[in-house]
Every structure is written in structure tokens, then in C-alpha cells.
């Protein structure tokens, strides 16, 4: 699974774009705190759903206001209020899991086996930080070979690649009292890594 954000960075009612490895997703959290991860494209005209807004606990596209419920099904077409939209109008959903203070998404089709999200237990998100470095440079710096995360002592460090030369690094820790210290550590790592990348 790909770590794409800290849980606490997406509030209820927020709609957030996420990019990874050329794919675009929209994450949104409904009024009861449930998170959805969909392809960032309205089935109607292809506009990014991450430009949209939440109405009546549904994600509405900014272009024509088509509204999609938590299953991704179109429920309202404002231009045709009497129409019951066909069930074939549906967004493409990704599997999303919230654990260890982070949001994890799998790009696999929903009927494929979903990899288990790592690092269960109580973790506290520190921050997500964009670092101008390639994936190889980021992996070398974070000592990661294959996966997008690892646990080192009391740190859960993970990343995804929104742009080819920008890594988004997410940090969570077990000790809630060390958040500021760990944030400073992450900033120092960014500065060092960007200096090396230059």
C-alpha cells in the first residue's frame, strides 16, 4: 500500500488531491469521518473531482454539480432533478485504509488481494513534507529498498511520489511529546537531501 497523507491532515468535509507515480486521486472525508479515495476524474466530463465540494455528504463535481455518494455512485444531476441517475455512472474507487496515523491507498483493482497496511498500534502524525529529490535519492536517504515505508526505532517514516522529482515524506512517531523535535529532524533531513540532490 502507498502512504499518501497523514490522517490528521484531512479534516471532515475536506476534499484533497493526491498524486502518485502519474496517477491522480481525490481523497475526501465525509461528515461522519469516513474517508474515500477515488480516481480524480468526474465520469461526466473528466474534470478533476478534487476541485469539487461536499454537499449533503456527497462529493459534488465543480463543473456541473453531479453528486457522488460514499459508494461512488452518482445520486444527483442538478440539470435533471427528476432523473434517477443510472447505476453505471460511478467513480473508480481505490482501497483506502487509515492506520498508524497515516492514510494508505492501494492502486490495485478492488477484487485483487489488498496488501496489509503496516505498523499497527498508536502512532502520532508529525508532518508530511515535500522534498525535491528523485525516488532513488529518497530511497537511499531513507534506507528503503522496495516498500514505501519503514519503522526505525520510534519512527514510522514513509513516502510517496507526487512528481518525478518531488517526494512527499510522511513521519509518525510513538511518543506524542516528541512531535516538535521530530519535525525539526525531518526538516534537517530535507535540507540535507536537497543539498545532495543539487
Amino acid at each position: 500500500m502507498i502512504p499518501v497523507a497523514l490522517s490528521r491532515d484531512i479534516a471532515e468535509g475536506e476534499v484533497v488531491p493526491v498524486r502518485h507515480d502519474g496517477q491522480e486521486m481525490v481523497l475526501w472525508r465525509d461528515a461522519v469521518g469516513k474517508l474515500q479515495a477515488w480516481e480524480d476524474r468526474c465520469p461526466h466530463r473528466g474534470v478533476q473531482l478534487s476541485l469539487g465540494f461536499i454537499r449533503e455528504n456527497r462529493l459534488a463535481c465543480l463543473y456541473h454539480g453531479w453528486q457522488y455518494d460514499h459508494e461512488g455512485r452518482c445520486r444527483v444531476i442538478p440539470a435533471h432533478p427528476a432523473l434517477n441517475p443510472p447505476s453505471t455512472i460511478k467513480t473508480h474507487a481505490y482501497t483506502v485504509v487509515e492506520t498508524a496515523g497515516m492514510i494508505w491507498v492501494t492502486m490495485a483493482a478492488s477484487d485483487e488481494r489488498v496488501p496489509r497496511a503496516p505498523a499497527e498500534g498508536a502512532w502520532h502524525g508529525v508532518r508530511s513534507l515535500a522534498i525535491r529529490a528523485s525516488e532513488d535519492e529518497t530511497r537511499r536517504a531513507l534506507v528503503l529498498d522496495q516498500h514505501y515505508w519503514r519503522i526505525s526505532a520510534d519512527r514510522l517514516i514513509a513516502f510517496h511520489m507526487p512528481e518525478p522529482n518531488v517526494a512527499m515524506v510522511h513521519l509518525a512517531v510513538r511518543d506524542e511529546t516528541s512531535l516538535r523535535r521530530e519535525a525539526d529532524w525531518l526538516l534537517r533531513m530535507r535540507d540535507t537531501l536537497e543539498e545532495i540532490a543539487c
Binding site: 476534499v15 484533497v16 498524486r19 459534488a60 465543480l62
Partner: protein
């Protein structure tokens, strides 16, 4: 009655309207295209003329029943930094919106400002301080908000700036929030 000589799509004119709305200061508006280049001007119809955001915000802070004080000390330094960022952003946005063909609007200076803003906001959040101005929003937030809210005009994706995104979301929830072209009300 105070009158703002501003230009609707201008970020600095919007900052004045936003501050006035949050502070419940009645404001008449006159469209003046010059504000796009020279910034907004505030007049009271008699002899008071404030030119630019600093003068206008100082004037607002002296009005009776206005709770926000004009930033002092370290906060003044942050305000100056924010004003500089807004100026760089305004220039880049005007250039991008008036270009005859699509151009990459995000300049090096704008990118540096966004990074610094993200770091400042994240540090505030981790230290339990909800706003750059302290426990309540103030003039610094008013200067920063148009930059963060209009980022998309320069093709800046907010997935790289979660703390800035949170800031935008929180300020939009405040009573008195108003919009401008590019910052829609539906969100």
C-alpha cells in the same frame, strides 16, 4: 463611510475587503483598475487616504471596536515577509492570467514562499498555536490567505502543502469570510 478604491480580481484589494468583513468595518467599493498595479486605496471621503495594505491595515487597527492590533515585534517581521510574498504572487499571477498562451505561473520566488509558509504553519500547529498571529487570526492571515487560496491559478497543487491547505480550510470556516473570483463560495 470608508471607500475602497480597488479592483475585484486584485489579491490586495480582496485582502482589504476580507479584513473589513472579518472586522465588521462598513466599506463602500469603487472599481479602480489602477489598484491592479498600485494596490488598493482607502478613503473616508474627506482627508484620509491610505495607500497600500500596510497603511490600510494600520488605519483599520486604529478604528474603534476593532479587536485586531497592528503586528509588532516578531509579528511585524512575519507581516513584512507575508507582504513580500503576496507581492511576488500578485506579479506572477497577473503574468500568468494575462499571457496569450498558457505559461508556467509558479516562479522560484513563489515556490520558496509556499515552502516557507508551509514550514511556518506546520511549526505553529505543532506548538499548539492555531494561527501565525497567535490564538486568533489577524492581519498576517489576511495577507497570506489570497496567496494560499489562489494557488491553483499558478498551477500549484495543494497536495504538497497540507498545513497550508488546513489553514485555508480553517479560515474559510470563520464568520465573516467572503470570496473573490478564483476563490469560490461552494467549498
Amino acid at each position: 463611510m470608508l471607500t475602497l478604491h480597488g479592483w475585484m480580481p486584485d489579491e490586495r484589494s480582496y485582502a482589504v475587503r476580507l479584513a473589513a468583513s472579518f472586522l465588521a468595518v462598513p466599506l463602500a467599493e469603487v472599481t479602480d483598475r489602477r489598484a491592479e498595479i498600485y494596490g488598493p486605496v482607502l478613503s473616508d471621503g474627506d482627508d484620509v487616504y491610505c495607500v497600500g495594505l500596510v497603511d490600510i491595515f494600520e488605519y483599520f487597527s486604529r478604528l474603534p471596536n476593532v479587536e485586531w492590533s497592528f503586528p509588532d515585534g516578531e509579528e511585524r517581521t512575519i507581516l513584512k515577509w507575508a507582504l513580500e510574498g503576496l507581492g511576488q504572487f500578485s506579479t506572477a499571477r497577473r503574468h500568468a492570467l494575462s499571457a496569450p498562451v498558457p505559461v508556467r505561473g509558479e516562479t522560484e520566488a513563489v515556490r520558496d514562499f509556499f515552502r516557507a509558509l508551509e514550514d511556518r504553519l506546520a511549526a505553529c500547529h505543532l506548538s499548539g498555536q492555531p494561527w501565525l498571529s497567535g490564538q486568533m487570526p489577524g492581519f498576517i492571515e489576511i495577507v497570506v490567505f489570497p496567496v494560499a487560496g489562489l494557488a491553483r491559478d499558478l498551477g500549484i497543487s495543494m497536495d504538497l502543502y497540507p498545513a497550508t491547505r488546513r489553514f485555508v480550510h480553517q479560515l474559510r470556516q470563520r464568520p465573516g469570510f467572503i470570496v473573490m473570483p478564483g476563490i469560490p463560495s461552494c467549498h
